[in-house]
Amino acid sequence: MATFPPPDLLSSGQVVIVTDQILSPADFLLHRTLASHFKDHKDARCIVLLVSESISRWNAIASRATVNLAALIESQALRFLDMVKDIQPHLGTDDSTRSTLVPLINEVRSLLQQQGDVQADQPTLILLDDISTLEWMGYATNELAKFLRALSILARKGNASLVVRHHVITPDTPDELFRFLLQLCTYHIDVRPLSSGRSGAVNGEISLYRGPSNGTAHVKTIPRQHAVQYRLTDAAAVYFEKGTGQAVL
């Protein structure tokens, strides 16, 4: 049985983009990343920027993976930051005083600085669970681009890894935000549905690409032809190579 993601993927300073589609949502990857981050490293820290998923869902799925989020929040190892306030971002105007993203960057910066010196066994992870919904509800693309660039610089300075999820709604024509994300990332995980539609045995395929900012490839990439397939269960996903699913073997 194949394992995904590869263990070295989130070593410090990596910027990983996860793209998914409506028929194959990649929330399971985010949950798995969080769970394995805390399980593999004793003094790990994590900041989750919430857009689409609710805290109760994070709690429910983490508890099935035997990760106690309440205790982690208590010990300040895990912080949830709400990205969206109750005011709709105004459309079209480039007024920086109304932007609610700049205070967020400051908050993330202060959180990262609070941790002081980062030891080798104290890796930090920043998870942004949805960037495309922000664009759809009215944030300007260049404002989001500035935010993402600032976030990735903070992550690199603080030796933290950054994982950003983006929803692809037009698979054939990449939109501006997606192109910007691709320039920024060191790894790109692409989760796609099967072209034959929904099935119970295989929920989708995952492939892993190197991003342009990646200097040296530490992790073996997975091209689309050899994509890892997965099937969701209530608590986690089961990964297998193409053609070795339970229906076949």
Binding site: I22, A60, I169, S196, G197, S199, T233, D234
Partner: protein
Amino acid sequence: MSSFKRKAVSKQPHIAQPGTRSSPSSAATIITSTGIPSLDDILGGGLPLSCSSVILAPDVHSAYAELVAKYYIAQGLALKQRTLVVGDSAQEFVSECMWTPGASGSVPSTSGTPGDEEEEGKASDHDNKVKIAWRYEQMKKFQTTVDSPNSSTEEFCSTFDLTCRIPEQVISEASAAQTVSFIPVSHQGDASPSDIVLNQVADILQKDRRSTPWATRICVPLFGSAEWGDIVPQNVIWFLYRLRRLLRQYPHSCAMVCPASHLCEDQWGGPGWIQKLAWVSDACITLSAFGGDPSLSAIFPSHHGMVHIHAQPAPHTLLPPSDRFSALRGVFASASSAGGVGENNLAFKCMRKRLIFETLHLDVEGGVGERRTTPASTFSPMEVGSSNNTPTEQLPSVDADASRLSGDVATVEVGLEESMAQTRIASHAVSQADEIAAARKPGKAKKKVAFRSDAPDLYDF
């Protein structure tokens, strides 16, 4: 890997509220009925509390999404859950809802002809008398939809009758007890109508100071219609996003939003619009009626439209309960099975007394009357290049250019009847194949399928 799988049952005590029960997939998820048993099945048992659903109906000439919304409201009133209806004509909308038959003060409109259910009952009785092969006797009957709830599940899902209208008394009693509230769409000040509506909903939800919160249903039957003012796609996304956040903040409530028909298409919101709607809501279903497409209604005469599922609610699990428990969708992803199967196609039909969602199957013959072995009579295949010039002179110049360009392949004449007849006569002298084609005139003689082989000795039956 051991075959034992201990189910992790969470020991959270679930205080039962009227009309709700635990989801089969997770004890933490509380589900409630939408009023339509087959729609409940598609959602995995019911609509989970703290989830929002969007029902899209792009056909402007029918109102199936509003029908689903009426079922939703009627179910809330029947179960005495708190129901909030948003819209300027919300009161009128609620008064048009359906109700259960036999309730006091409402007499179902009977007529001489038997109802659809009785006809179905008679048909199934007749089927039972048909002799079937012994090996199939143990199989259960082919069902395209789930059964209506029997009396034991009445507390969860009521049986509504479209011929019965909701009694006035029920609405007035509910208004007096504040079980139902109507929220108009107003345009005061600078705030957008969506923000005002959501603030009002939040106020109502916040004021509930009971120990066990009251299960609440929010319904927006015609979101984006004229009373909402000028709406751009970002407003819609913002409304649905904020509504979902509100539902998560007050997890004893659920919502159903039915956008106006023109909002339900990619033409309005740009490419990928439906997917955007599916991402910002928990459940997203399109009821695309056959009204605008006569060919589809001819192919599927017993259905009124197709059902497309874009998103399924999964508030506490990775896998939506619908994938595991929906009998209609037929996607079984349990680890112990031999693997999953593809999903069933779903359609809906509105009968005299109810609206049901069913699996959609092609006819026995797949829609084609008979097997064809020769090309259809509208084609007249030509010899390569030889006779292209003569017949095409009579055709308009555009067609002539096209046929000269495609000289090697069989050309399809899109001309008038006379020119078609002329081409047939012209090509008659050319080849024998054309002769056969000419003999098969638009008269549509019944073709017989015959197996002619080159070596009759070999296949001597």
